[in-house]
Symmetry: C2
């Protein structure tokens, strides 16, 4: 862990290749670091400018009068070795090389030269050919897009686009991330270093890993055995065409799929099949405790939502909880005839926050319920408060499904997400995420 804290916890950083041209990544990255509210000190480096984005610009790293812990490098590929040599002499401890044009483009010698330099100076490096690093607890968005909201999800991605997409979704939904790391060519820091770091990072609850090629199969297996936090994986290349494309993309061998999948199964790493599942599972695990069982109780305002959820529960090998006959009788006597008492429990268009709360509290006394899934299929204001109150009073986990609620849905979902209560926008996605993550490792025990 300590080895990479010089990267994530850096108290000062220089952006080498900082630019005033808004179409350049040297501008976008510096701008995101500043707008993100980075906790440390920032030094733009650009010999052609006096000021970059309003900050004094230094001609080179060595011209900076103070210590620099981290160098973020966005210059032409052939300039990188010189910059890194200078960084070493300056005492820089970590680097993020965003510049491309290394082994992925056939320039292996150039990459090896860089690796030699970082070894000489004991610099830890992410990249080259990566999309940067975001660590929200340090407000350090040395990447794009700008993502500021802190959350419990750490994203490690061998595709810049995939990392950016997951992070942005998490922010848009009010969930946030602890980190996004774009792996790039993995010439130094690789998925193993990062899995180890985030497994111990107190700001991280679950890890999402998009990986095209495993750096070291045996080491990955050993790491998988040691990990304590839940890890959700998307590893494309399931088909021959996909594998071929992955080999071309990363210029590496992706390895035997069956072996990888066997390791995941054995150690409880969650393998997903597409971007949607990948996000949903990482989201659920960054917000929930380990589910104690697979019996789900539905309480719905929408008949259609309840029907769709029943199908999903059966098809995904979860179970509909059974309510005792005694309680059914009691509830049937209490509520209007057009309510459906049972599972699904259908409140119909009469549903309101107080009713959801009342019924969930009553049902929570049942032994046979592991998870409550309230389904809100209408624009019902105030359900967030109701579900958050219920969560404090019951032992069962709550996973909310909200759809058909337009603007009210967006507002209520944000409120729940900010309090760590997961909300999914369709019955299928809610059930699928529960089923995929059920009985795996869990962050908050």
């Amino acid at each position: 862990m300590s080895q990479l804290s010089c990267l994530f916890e850096a108290k000062s950083l220089a952006v080498v290749g900082a630019s005033n041209n808004p179409s350049k990544y040297g501008n976008i990255v510096l701008s995101n670091i500043l707008e993100g509210g980075y906790k440390g000190v920032v030094y733009p480096v650009n010999p052609k400018e006096a000021l970059v984005l309003g900050l004094k610009s230094y001609p080179s790293l060595s011209d900076i009068p103070d210590d620099v812990e981290l160098a973020v490098i966005i210059v032409k590929n052939h300039m990188v070795p010189d910059v890194m040599e200078e960084a070493g002499k300056k005492g820089v401890k970590s680097a993020i090389i965003i510049s491309g044009g290394f082994s992925e483009a056939g320039e292996k010698a150039l990459q090896e030269k860089v690796v030699e330099i970082i070894k000489k100076y004991k610099i830890r490096m992410v990249g080259p050919n990566c999309q940067g690093v975001n660590y929200t607890p340090n407000k350090m968005c040395a990447t794009w897009p700008l993502i500021k909201q802190e959350g419990k999800m750490a994203i490690i991605s061998q595709s810049g686009s995939v990392g950016a997409e997951l992070g942005k979704q998490a922010e848009n939904e009010g969930i946030g991330v602890s980190a996004i790391v774009s792996l790039g060519n993995k010439a130094d820091v690789n998925e193993l270093d990062l899995l180890e770091y985030f497994d111990q990072d107190k700001n991280t609850g679950a890890i999402a890993l998009y990986l095209e090629a495993v750096s070291n199969g045996k080491a990955f297996l050993n790491m998988a055995a040691r990990l304590k936090k839940p890890v959700v994986i998307l590893k494309p290349g399931k088909t021959e065409a996909g594998q071929k494309a992955a080999n071309t993309h990363t210029n590496s061998i992706t390895g035997k799929r069956e072996v990888f999948e066997g390791v995941c199964r054995q150690y409880g790493l969650i393998n997903t099949d597409n971007l949607g599942e990948f996000y949903d599972c990482a989201k659920l695990l960054s917000m929930t405790k380990k589910l104690r069982g697979k019996k789900i109780q539905l309480v719905s305002s929408s008949g259609g939502g309840a029907v769709l959820a029943c199908d999903a529960i059966v098809e995904e090998n979860m179970e509909l909880a059974m309510i005792s006959e005694d309680r059914c009788r009691k509830l049937k006597a209490k509520y209007p005839q057009h309510f459906t008492v049972g599972n699904p429990f259908d409140l119909t268009g009469d549903a309101n926050p107080a009713l959801y709360k009342e019924i969930m509290l009553e049902l929570s006394k049942e032994e046979g319920i592991d998870v409550f899934m309230p389904i809100v299929g209408d624009p019902i204001r105030g359900v967030a408060e109701a579900f958050l109150e219920v969560r404090e009073l019951i032992d069962q986990e709550i996973v909310v499904c909200f759809f058909g609620g337009a603007e009210v849905q967006v507002e209520e979902t944000m409120k729940m997400h900010k309090q760590g209560l997961p909300v999914f926008p369709s019955p299928y996605r809610a059930v699928k995420a529960i089923a995929q993550t059920f009985q795996k490792k869990s962050s908050i025990n």
Copy 2:
């Protein structure tokens, strides 16, 4: 068709049960009709108010001095027969009964009474127990949520929540809808009437149908055989639990699943498995011509996106197009070495709108490409214009995949959707929608 035009094309409507209390549906519906910019004349009916939402309120339908074509009814269930009797005498031609408390709540006699009245007066009625009707070409949003944007997708739903969700997604994405009809108890107007209407409606390109129970199996089969426009269906109840929940929800028998699925297969109706697929297929069909074949060419800024798309193409039984060796040689000579020439065609981080356009135009000369799927995995401004220009110049269909582009992605996606070019937010969803709709009926031939 003419029979239901009295509903969709109504030039005047009364909201019986209009209310000044913002928590009542009688307020929400009237407010949406007014905010939606309804083309006709609106009459609130409420005996206790002089004004509702600033409009003169009438004590009853018969007090309205002018003709009323459509009555939207949101009053207590036991008042509905009297209101309908009055509507009949007034010469009202169509009704939307939002009020619940009929056969779904065990009040069969009450529903039968209403049906007798509408038969006597030849009124066409949607509901009871429904969430209303939206027909955007008439700017008539007699439902919730408020959805104004015109599009080519007509939504028929036996769940108010499902209809609302689909419509809102379509508006949020800049696609819009032609209609949303909540079927409710289907005491008069049912899915057959509506399929027939929208199949002929010039404002509709594709129909999305959420159905828990088929009203008349034989009639449905005959209708399926006659339909010319593409129909996408979500029919839950695949499992016993789902079927049981559906029977309870609609208080009707859902029918044999195998028979229904057979009919769909035979007549090219597209059966989907969950809300996400349902929306994606309806969206694609409301925007595209029939695909001429299943050979897809990928042009990507994201290596990861390209890999994910390859897997999806193979797994969904689509095909990666093959580029001729001649053209490959030519393109390899023209572009930098780090571009991957082939399929996927990887433009790497160098991707820009002009490059996408240039390469798609060059590749469009190939015989073996049916569909272009440009994948944008970065915040690249201007791709919308580029793809829209290319569309005018080539014969192949374009289905865009855009992810990892944050705010730029939202802006560019809206631009493309408003021009009828479909964009999906993940490779899997784009490919899956193509695969599910491939070789089915098509709206724009």
